[in-house]
Symmetry: C2
């Protein structure tokens, strides 16, 4: 069956508790989003600083250190979320359960935007790694991005099993090759060859830089921290004791991220790397360190691979969030069903579609997408931390004062970062996110209120009475007499009741022919011929149906339509258009039910 081929076999409910992950494998599974940002975060800082001249690039080091400080604060804060929510504590759940529904919905809206941007930014940066190595591909980067998104989406539609090994190879290749590059680069710089350029921190030049530009560079660098919350969502996937193992893994991930990020920034500065349009900073560093040898291509390949993993992780995260929202009635109900893998396909297609749209609008350019990225992430960080602060204030419990201080610092730091990011990046694209957030929340609200209305309207109350039996008039509109029509007549007759065939008299000769054939094959069902002064078959049918509805204001009318189902899918456009028009016209008639009786073509 088509579906089985697409999505694989269903899992028994009892199989749901799948194998737990060791710390090493979990690190690979959960850290691609966070670690992959090393591929572009340094570059984004440099791109802002270069606006104030080459001397200002030296500021990238203090800015990187500030971001690592923020990383430490976040890691310690998220540790507490891991212990408090061993079943998984995403921003939506933490904000909703501790602050309230509105906070949860803000977080959810921010996360949805975040998932779309993770796919778009990671794909664009991954393709930038490819086009840096093969400049001939640079003009085709948009097409390459779209192909990548389609590929990842199709893989997810087919249902990639989250096998640890698939994730482990590129992640550890990335970590390993980057550590080698950092080591080799630092050795070259301090124990032998002089660096190409080594600008000292020129105080005079630096003082000329506005605080605004420095904060903007900091905001750009904050993209390095996207994805560090992922482990806190997946605590339940760890081996026992889950929270302890998750917390240790998170520490390890943060340490690796910090080293890779600061190391990259230092190497970029010491090598005098300046951002170029057609080559990434990482590619320039790798080229200066290794020349265009084997190692250079390994670095580029590992960078691309981990970025595609990061994009892939959003395809797992988005449907999970959507199902949480759907269960609470803020997204379409069908997204809530976990039992069948097929229901995730809506989410995958939506995510792929929106991120492909972003790639098209921003021409596959990482730098153009970055200003949109960090806003949503830091907003959800802030709401998570604020939720934890409320939690300690309300629940108290052992050491609650210490925990309150930790999450309080986290909330304060992330809130400050959110404000800095949204203000310094506002005109560069953050405004789009700030407009989208309330729109998404309005959508959640509209969906929720619709479901509430439906539930109320169809609820059975004490004064609802079972309906009395009613008459059912069955009408078969026909235009000719053939096997498909006879099949419909056979079906209609099998349920008994008042069955009539209806022929609209468009052409007297044809009508006579149909009447003759009907006498032979009509199974005794009466044939009514109705006139059509306007040549409109549809109009005459509608008139007849309305007349019957008026005659008996209680009765049901069933319209049985013979339908030809061709053997080839494309042939469907050659049939059934008239039936479609009739169905459209009957859709809003109460008490009228339309039934297609398919005739399956053999060829």
């Amino acid at each position: 069956m088509l579906k089985r081929w697409l999505v694989g076999n269903p899992l028994k409910t009892s199989q749901a508790a799948h194998q737990r992950l060791t710390k090493l494998v979990a690190l690979a599974v959960f850290s691609s989003d966070a670690l992959s940002s090393v591929a572009y975060a340094t570059e984004e800082i440099l791109l802002v600083l270069i606006l104030a001249g080459a001397a200002a690039l030296a500021l990238s080091i203090p800015i990187s250190i500030a971001i690592v400080l923020l990383l430490i604060i976040l890691t310690v804060s998220y540790r507490q979320i891991i212990y408090a929510y061993p079943e998984g504590g995403g921003a939506y759940i933490v904000a909703k359960s501790n602050i309230g529904t509105w906070a949860g919905l803000v977080a959810a809206a921010a996360l949805i935007i975040d998932y779309v941007l993770t796919v778009a930014v990671s794909t664009a940066a991954g393709i930038a790694a490819v086009t840096s190595a093969f400049p001939a591909l640079f003009p085709h980067r948009e097409a390459l991005c779209l192909m990548t998104i389609v590929m990842v989406a199709v893989m997810n539609l087919r249902g990639v099993r989250e096998s640890g090994r698939i994730f482990a190879i590129p992640t550890y290749l990335f970590i390993g090759s980057f550590l080698i590059m950092l080591g080799a680069g630092l050795v070259q710089l301090y124990a032998g060859q002089p660096p190409t350029i080594s600008p000292p921190l020129d105080k005079a030049a630096v003082e000329g830089i506005s605080m605004f530009l420095i904060l903007r560079a900091f905001s750009s660098g904050c993209t390095a921290l996207t994805g560090i919350e992922v482990i806190s969502n997946g605590v339940s996937a760890f081996k026992k004791p889950e929270p302890h193992n998750a917390a240790v893994t998170m520490l390890g991930m943060a340490a690796i991220l910090g080293v890779l990020f600061v190391g990259t920034s230092v190497l970029a500065l010491q090598n005098g790397v300046i951002p170029k349009e057609d080559e990434t900073v990482v590619s320039q560093i790798a080229r200066l360190t290794f020349g265009e040898g084997m190692m250079y291509f390994i670095i580029q390949a590992a960078t691309m691979a981990i970025l595609i993993l990061a994009a892939n992780s959003a395809f797992a995260g988005f449907p999970r969030l959507a199902s949480l929202l759907a269960r609470d009635g803020y997204m379409p109900h069908q997204m809530a069903e976990m039992g069948d893998r097929l229901v995730f396909s809506n989410g995958i297609i939506i995510l792929g579609g929106f991120s492909a749209f972003l790639i098209l609008v921003f021409r596959g350019d990482t730098h153009a997408l970055i200003p949109l990225y960090a806003v949503g992430v830091f907003l959800s960080f802030t709401l998570s931390q604020a939720g934890m602060v409320r939690r300690w204030l309300v629940q108290k419990g052992p050491h609650w004062r210490k925990k309150l201080v930790v999450n309080g610092i986290g909330a304060l730091a992330t809130a400050t970062a959110t404000v800095i990011i949204s203000s310094t990046k506002f005109i560069h694209g953050a405004w789009i996110v700030i407009i989208l957030l309330p729109l998404l929340m309005m959508m959640f609200r509209a969906i929720h209120s619709h479901y509430v209305t439906v539930t109320q309207e169809i609820a059975l109350t004490r004064d609802t009475r079972p309906p009395r039996p009613r008459r059912n008039l069955i009408i078969i509109p026909i235009g000719a007499v053939n096997k498909a029509v006879i099949r419909a007549v056979d079906y209609a007759r099998s349920r008994g009741g008042d069955v009539r065939a209806l022929l609209v008299d468009v052409n007297p000769e044809e009508t006579a022919l149909v009447e003759m054939k009907w006498a032979q094959w009509g199974c005794g069902v009466p044939l009514l011929v109705i006139p059509s002064p306007y040549r409109s078959v549809l109009g005459s049918l509608m008139d007849y149906i309305e007349e019957q509805l008026e005659k008996d204001p209680e009765c049901w009318i069933t319209v049985v339509l013979p339908e030809i189902l061709p053997a080839q899918w494309w042939q469907n456009v050659l049939h059934g258009q008239r039936a479609l028009l009739l169905k459209g016209a009957l859709l809003f008639k109460d008490r009228v039910v339309v039934t297609d009786v398919p005739y399956h073509m053999k060829r």
Copy 2:
């Protein structure tokens, strides 16, 4: 009703013979396509000649004269088609009835391509007239083209009445203002002010030009002749005697076209106009003749208006051709129905979509589209003329030898032009058309053979026997008990037979609740609870249905689905996804019929 608002009231069959057109009005109605090509034909000739240097531009005059010669041949030949086919003789009909089906289909494929290109080229040229007058709009020409196509398509979807007056104003404004421009220009040139540049025919320079380039310029200029066949399709719209009036109108149109075209070419040459990217040749002539005054803007506005009329004419012609093809079974049947205006909307949307696609691919650039244009037109000319040659050979009749010679010359001339155009324009775009032609013909063939197969398969033969009565098992899958479900139960019960409600046991608590409610509101219909080890509601339902089908290999199974119809259209995405999956899974089960029972939401 939505449809009435969109397409207006239906016409009685007896109203079909609408008012006939006078020659003056008919000229306006039928000539926009032909006359509007004056706006770009000269420019296209110059654009090719300029490749050989400015001196070569002088060749535009002999080339224009050659094209006018071809125009005279075509006019005389089409006169004979008008008299031979007073009910309207398009290339499809003439080629099919005289040569054979395959020739008719080649002509039809060529005409379809022609219609799409008429819309694309006319729109692009019309917008070029606008951006010539307002250069600030030049960067937005793609968007302007798309907006124009959408506007014309929507007007046609709403059903513009072919009122003569609407066509008369822009057509006669165009003719009048162009004649004034030609007159003023010629007076300026020969009776006073010297022309800006007046290069004599420099023989030495011209001899250096390859014959190929001259033929290419000729091919470009042949676009001037697109649309001259339109009158021969619409003979029946003229006042009596139709053929005579149509023939006179065609002569008038050809004369005007010839004068405007040659006049424009002469003025362009004498004024030393050289094609520019951002201003049309006509705009340059008008600017040099009138300065940037009132008259300049009238010329530009009239040019734009007649080009949009030309695009509009394709929206009338394409559905008419499609309906002819559909009646013969080469296009989907629904396109054949003339009785209801709505059936034309498919054709309008298809035509608008493809021409918008061309505008996007060729960036709204007239020059890039032109090489695709004339091939199809001249191919259909050739087939028409060849068809007439066969006609005289077979039918003979009075003066058949003279008529044979006339159409023979026409066929020879257009065939030669077709070969010249396809070879000189091949690499510039004509190859696209040459690839598309056989693809379209394959499509016609595939559709035709499908309809033949269906007709044969569902035909009632002597050994077809009326079916014996069979049992009908009615199943209502439910997930809860509410008013929508009860409504479906009420409907199912109204037709009698074996009715059962089916509940898949996903959650034991919910199941117990549903069973309790069922006892009160179930109308006495039995409720079956089936287990679901895989949590897949769909799978369990399918298993049950398949089991029942096996049990009684004769019976029908009706699946009655309660369906919620929301009050707002967007709310539809919030419902019915599970029903959709079930319907999809049941689609290929013979003997299973699915019936939606709608519950109309009030809010």
